[in-house]
């Protein structure tokens, strides 16, 4: 009993301190962020958190050195009298059910005015459904499964390019490579059985068919594998000209290790971001994955440019180089905060209206999109990306299209 009393008193004390703090401090805007902070995707989730923290740092403090970049010049959100942004993080533990519960908690208990997250497409799917039910804007920066914006949702906005955009980029890239002499007659598509893996695989397959390319050989496997030897041997036997990998980090590392062990080098590997963009993938097995192609919308840019400065700040927070996923998450968060600022209100309906009216130009972005403008489904219609290559095993460089390329693409896949 005594213990309960003490807890009760402590609770009351905490609440009164909290209330007192609130009354005297400036207004804060509470935004919820759902990411896999533990579980098998924790590496990606913690990088996401570092990205959001960097964005908050830029928004809440004056950063005139970032020039035209929205929200950077003044401290806080000017549209709300300099209000500071506060992010409440929740851990989805890599589970769609947990992601949903945590979103509910953020909305009903933390009273967040908007949400971002949740990395894995399968969890973004369940988390955003809760936001939709409660009428809270949910801005996603990184999940690419096509169906997320096909549900007729009114409160869901997605800034990133989606699977079909990337599938078209792969097609154009492969056709260009073919014109340059590469063989692309047979394609294998290795993907896990998560929402992300299956949906990207089906989009890539249908876009390839429609574009007159070979129908990819489908190599599906269960995510978080203990072993992938059989899949690699299947590839070794079928000898596809191009292997497309749609996997999260743990499996991506295992595939690279197993390909080396079984001495399998396809002429070309294209990775669909996620696992292959995780900085810990590059550190762990970059040296034995040299020449892998990947998609990206992020590029550091010249020294001293706003993007380079942001990348530096991010590195200080996370200890790692900025990668495409973290950059897309950060951009998504900026889009949300820019809309809140423009709305000049924390009323969810006004934020929703502001998001619908979003019209950002390329020079207002930290990432290589042609802009940000949402269609009726909440999808950014100006999202874009390039093909990058891990040429030296340490850093990705842009190799396609020619206009954005830092270096020409190198063929064939070198491996180790």
């Amino acid at each position: 009993m005594k213990f309960k009393h003490i807890i009760g008193l402590l609770g009351a004390a905490a609440i009164s301190v909290g209330l007192a703090g609130h009354a005297s401090a400036q207004q804060t805007i509470k935004i919820g962020a759902v990411f896999p902070l533990s579980g098998n995707a924790a590496s990606a989730g913690n990088h996401a958190k570092a990205a959001i923290e960097t964005a908050v740092e830029i928004i809440n403090n004056a950063h005139p050195e970032l020039g035209n970049f929205p929200l950077a010049k003044d401290a806080g959100l000017a549209g709300l009298g300099g209000a500071k942004v506060e992010v409440v993080y929740a851990d989805n533990q890599g589970s769609p059910a947990t992601g949903q519960n945590q979103t509910l908690r953020l909305i009903t208990e933390e009273k967040v005015v908007a949400l971002t997250g949740a990395y894995q497409s399968g969890i973004t799917l369940t988390a955003s459904a809760i936001a939709e039910k409660y009428g809270i804007p949910f801005v996603n920066g990184e999940s690419v499964a096509a169906n997320l914006t096909e549900r007729g949702f009114k409160w869901f906005f997605r800034v990133t390019p989606v699977a079909s955009d990337f599938a078209k980029i792969y097609v154009d890239f492969l056709k260009d490579m073919k014109a340059g002499g590469a063989k692309i007659d047979t394609v294998a598509l290795v993907h896990d059985n998560t929402e992300y893996g299956t949906s990207v695989a089906s989009v890539v397959t249908s876009v390839f068919k429609d574009s007159g390319l070979a129908t990819p050989l489908d190599v599906a496997y269960a995510a978080n594998a203990t072993d992938v030897q059989s899949q690699v041997l299947q590839l070794k036997e079928k000898k596809p000209d191009v292997v497309i990998m749609v996997t999260y980090t743990s499996d991506a590392i295992l595939y690279s290790k197993t390909m080396q062990a079984l001495d399998y080098k396809p002429p070309m590997i294209i990775a669909d971001d996620s696992g292959y963009s995780d900085p810990s993938f590059i550190k762990a097995v970059g040296k034995i994955s040299q020449g892998v192609f990947n998609r990206s919308s992020w590029s550091v840019g010249p020294k001293g440019s706003p993007t380079a400065l942001i990348a530096e700040m991010y590195k200080k927070n996370s200890g790692d180089e900025m990668d495409d996923t973290a950059a897309r998450q950060m951009q998504g968060f900026f889009v949300l905060c820019e809309a809140i600022n423009r709305a000049g209100s924390t009323d969810p309906a006004k934020i929703q209206a502001a998001l619908k009216a979003t019209d950002l130009k390329p020079d207002q972005l930290m990432i290589g999109y042609k802009g940000v403008k949402f269609d009726d489904k909440g999808q950014n219609v100006l999202a874009a990306g390039v093909i990058i290559q891990l040429q030296d095993g340490e850093n990705y460089v842009a190799v396609w299209p020619k206009g954005s390329a830092e270096k020409p693409p190198v063929m064939p896949y070198k491996g180790w």
Binding site: A222, T226, Q231, Q260, K283
Partner: protein, 287 residues
């Protein structure tokens, strides 16, 4: 048989040996004191991190990593026995299950806090690369793990069946009051069992680290296989775990190759369940 098929089977056997290696510690604890150690996968994880730390500090491979992991984990096993297991063994079944489950979470999140969430990896050539025998590729690191699996299984089997320490341990497992009357200290024997089981699991982790990624949640990925291996082999049977591990490894590889990787778990688990239907005590367990 095509070279690829032979490769699939060889790969399955090597994978199975690894399954057996990291299951032997679990089956020992199970057989000795009827406790399910849910923290088992996380012991493997700690063994992997020990190997990684040894490599970063001294640039040394499993030659040093394995003994250090064995020693550290054995110590941890004794600490866990006296700090946790001894008291929860007196409690209800549920306390035993939740106790080791809590330990699993403690170790996992301690690893998150200390090592961070990033995936780590040892250099690929830390155990002498890969052999090529008539077109069949054999990774030295997996072969080493397989050989050690055989040695450990053999060693544990001899210990339990041929030595007086083993007889004392089994006596305690059978009837701890009677053993006590014969002048055997159950506490000492069970602490030794935990030390051996955790030490062997440390060895397994340090070896698996040479060809697998290292991350705080890796115990989750590997843990389930250990439970299946132990129940198929027979609770408490060390040779049973070896046979079961090899069997699961080969069935997994073949079904992934023939039917498709996404279906391999369906094949493995339906065979597993139908086998338990006929022989619930497992391959070599006592009924």
């Amino acid at each position: 048989m095509s070279t690829i098929l032979v490769q699939v089977i060889v790969g399955g056997l090597l994978l199975g040996a690894v399954y057996a290696l990291f299951s032997s510690g679990l089956t020992l604890i199970w057989g000795m004191m009827n406790i399910v150690n849910f923290a088992h996968g996380d012991f493997v994880m700690l063994g992997m991190y020990v190997a990684f730390v040894i490599w970063t500090l001294f640039g040394a491979g499993p030659m040093l990593g394995v003994p250090v992991a064995a020693l550290l984990l054995a110590t941890l096993g004794i600490v866990v026995y006296f700090g946790l297991i001894r008291s929860i063994m007196k409690g209800p079944m549920l306390a035993q299950i939740l106790g080791t489950f809590g330990l699993a979470l403690l170790l996992r999140y301690a690893a998150f806090w200390w090592f961070g969430a990033n995936f780590l990896s040892l250099p690929e050539n830390i155990v002498g690369g890969t052999f090529d025998i008539f077109g069949i590729r054999i990774q030295a690191s997996r072969l080493l793990a397989g050989v050690v699996a055989l040695l450990v299984t053999g060693g544990l089997h001899i210990l339990l069946t041929r030595t007086s320490l083993g007889s004392k341990m089994l006596a305690v497992a059978e009837d701890s009051t009677a053993a006590q009357l014969m002048g055997i200290r159950p506490d000492t024997m069970q602490a030794i069992a935990w030390a051996i089981a955790a030490g062997v699991t440390g060895i397994a982790g340090a070896l698996i680290a040479t060809f697998f990624y290292i991350v705080p949640t890796v115990g989750e990925t590997l843990g389930i296989v250990a439970f299946v291996t132990v129940s198929l082999g027979g609770f408490g049977s060390v040779p049973g775990a070896l046979v079961a591990g090899l069997l699961i490894g080969v069935i997994e590889s073949l079904s992934a190759y023939w039917i498709g990787a996404v279906y391999k778990d369906i094949v493995v688990y339906s065979l597993f369940l139908s086998f338990l239907w006929f022989r619930p005590q497992g391959l070599m367990g006592k009924s």
